[in-house]
């Protein structure tokens, strides 16, 4: 067991110490037990895909990792910083968010800012990068996600797929050590899903540590190092994609997969 991640200079190369570790994380929404003592670790460079029916708690799980959802007991360690239950994380909350990027289902771009300013806002205000430097970073990232020529436009002038790629660039501008994806393609028209998945695939190939909630099972099978199946606020089964998709052991996993794979 590795339970002493204390500083920034953890081993980046090996999976000696996990970058994320959930330890008996428990969360209720009123009577609903959305997370039941969840234990989960993610290694550096690992791509973990979380699947499950809607309402299973999979989105809540990754939203806890950057403190967007409070939880009632347990603890979460992210890159050596600890998130505590009931919003008692103090300074480490913002520290975690600075190191963890997130892409949302609804993109959540800032509609009052140009595409370039969407990408540069956080580096300028949080990291104190100058506007010129930030613009240079933004242009490079926008080129990487294939929208360099749209930098002066505003979010509503872009297609959904383009907006989501901007959202990815915006998160990457903070040079995160971990990326969270909360159903990044669920709000997209079918013809735009591919371009977003391509950008994510490229990111995974570059070695980014990623936690992805998605319904794209083909993508999960191809990109994931590990697939986690969540049901009723619990991790029911996890393993490499071949094992989980082709030989699911738990009957709930089998039932879920038979529903999502047969259509």
């Amino acid at each position: 067991m590795n339970d002493s991640v204390t500083s920034q200079d953890t081993d980046r190369t090996a999976d000696a110490s996990p970058i994320v570790r959930l330890d008996k994380v428990d969360k209720h929404f009123g009577n609903l037990h959305v997370m039941q003592e969840i234990d989960l670790s993610v290694a550096h460079g690992e791509v973990v895909v979380i699947i499950g029916a809607s309402g299973s708690g999979k989105s809540t799980l990754i939203r806890c990792v950057n403190g967007l959802e409070p939880f009632q007991s347990g603890r979460i360690e992210v890159d050596g910083k600890t998130l505590m239950p009931n919003g008692a994380s103090g300074k480490s909350l913002q520290a975690v968010r600075t190191e963890v990027g997130m892409v949302f289902q609804q993109f959540n771009l800032f509609p009052h800012l140009s595409i370039r300013d969407n990408v540069t806002l956080a580096p300028r205000k949080v990291r104190g990068v100058t506007r010129d430097q930030a613009n240079a970073i933004a242009d490079k990232l926008l080129e990487r996600v294939g929208i360099a020529d749209q930098a002066d436009k505003y979010p509503t002038q872009l297609s959904g797929g383009q907006q989501q790629r901007v959202a990815l660039a915006r998160a990457l501008a903070m040079e995160p050590r971990l990326m969270l994806f909360d159903e990044p393609t669920s709000a997209l028209d079918p013809e735009m899903i591919g371009e977003v998945l391509d950008a994510m695939r490229e990111l995974a190939n570059d070695g980014m540590t990623m936690m992805i909630v998605t319904h794209e099972m083909g993508f999960a099978r191809e990109v994931a190092d590990r697939v986690v199946f969540v049901h009723g606020g619990q991790i029911v089964e996890q393993g490499p994609p071949e094992q989980l998709f082709d030989h699911p052991r738990h009957e709930r996993t089998q039932a879920f997969l038979s529903r999502v794979l047969k259509h």
Binding site: G67, M102, F110
Partner: protein, 222 residues
């Protein structure tokens, strides 16, 4: 049917120089009152929805009191009532500005609250997820969008408050209506003078509407 009264354009135009002496007061009370009211509105509107719970109830009480009582009563209270408490007279102009500020402030608090609450939760989450602090997220993400949505309602409030200044003729502020009353007492040209006063109010309120619609259009992108 024949009217035995003619609208006397000559008299209307002759009244103008005297009426215009009231314009600076109308404008001063309106703009000073609204500027202070906007500040009050931002402070109390944000107190109402801010993270500090015990700050909420004073904001609620303030809004209910000043929204639920007439401006006329408020200014009479300030001008005639408060001196008894303070032990000294209050300047009529100050009383007028204070009444507009406090009254508009109550309405603007609600406009601010509504504007900020209308911004989708995802905007705040996106700001926070990028490592912006909650105040930074408010300042750079929420507030600019909220302000833009507030413009039409703020314009309404501005127009209402400008018209409310006409009530302050009762405490002797030499604004447009008061100037008109004084003028009419000597010339008995009520029709012409009140018509001109109405035109002057319209000129002010239409300018404001125009300015705001330009502002809104300019910021329309995004």
């Amino acid at each position: 049917m024949e009217f035995n009264f003619q609208f006397d354009w000559q008299a209307a135009i002759e009244s103008l120089p005297f009426l215009l002496k009231g314009l600076p007061y109308t404008l001063l009370i309106s703009f000073a009152g609204l500027a202070i009211g906007f500040l009050i509105g931002i402070i109390f509107g944000l107190m109402r929805i801010g993270p500090t719970r015990w700050l909420r109830w004073p904001a609620v009480v303030y809004v209910e009191v000043f929204r639920g009582t007439p401006v006329l009563v408020q200014v009479l209270f300030i001008f005639y009532g408060l001196p008894t408490l303070l032990g000294g007279p209050i300047n009529a102009l100050t009383a007028g500005i204070a009444a507009i500020a406090l009254n508009a402030g109550a309405y603007i608090s609600e406009i601010v609250r509504g504007g900020v609450q209308s911004i989708e939760r995802g905007q705040r989450e996106a700001g926070l997820s990028l490592g912006l602090s909650p105040p930074q997220t408010f300042r750079y993400v929420i507030w600019p969008q909220a302000l833009r949505r507030m413009i039409p309602a703020l314009g309404n409030q501005g127009i209402v408050s400008i018209k409310d200044t006409s009530l302050f003729s009762v405490i002797g502020v030499g604004e447009l209506v008061r100037q008109g009353q004084v003028y009419i007492a000597n010339t008995f040209t009520a029709l012409e003078v009140y018509f001109m006063i109405a035109l002057l109010y319209l000129a002010i309120t239409l300018s404001l509407s125009l300015a705001l619609s330009l502002l809104e259009r300019k910021g329309l992108v995004g």
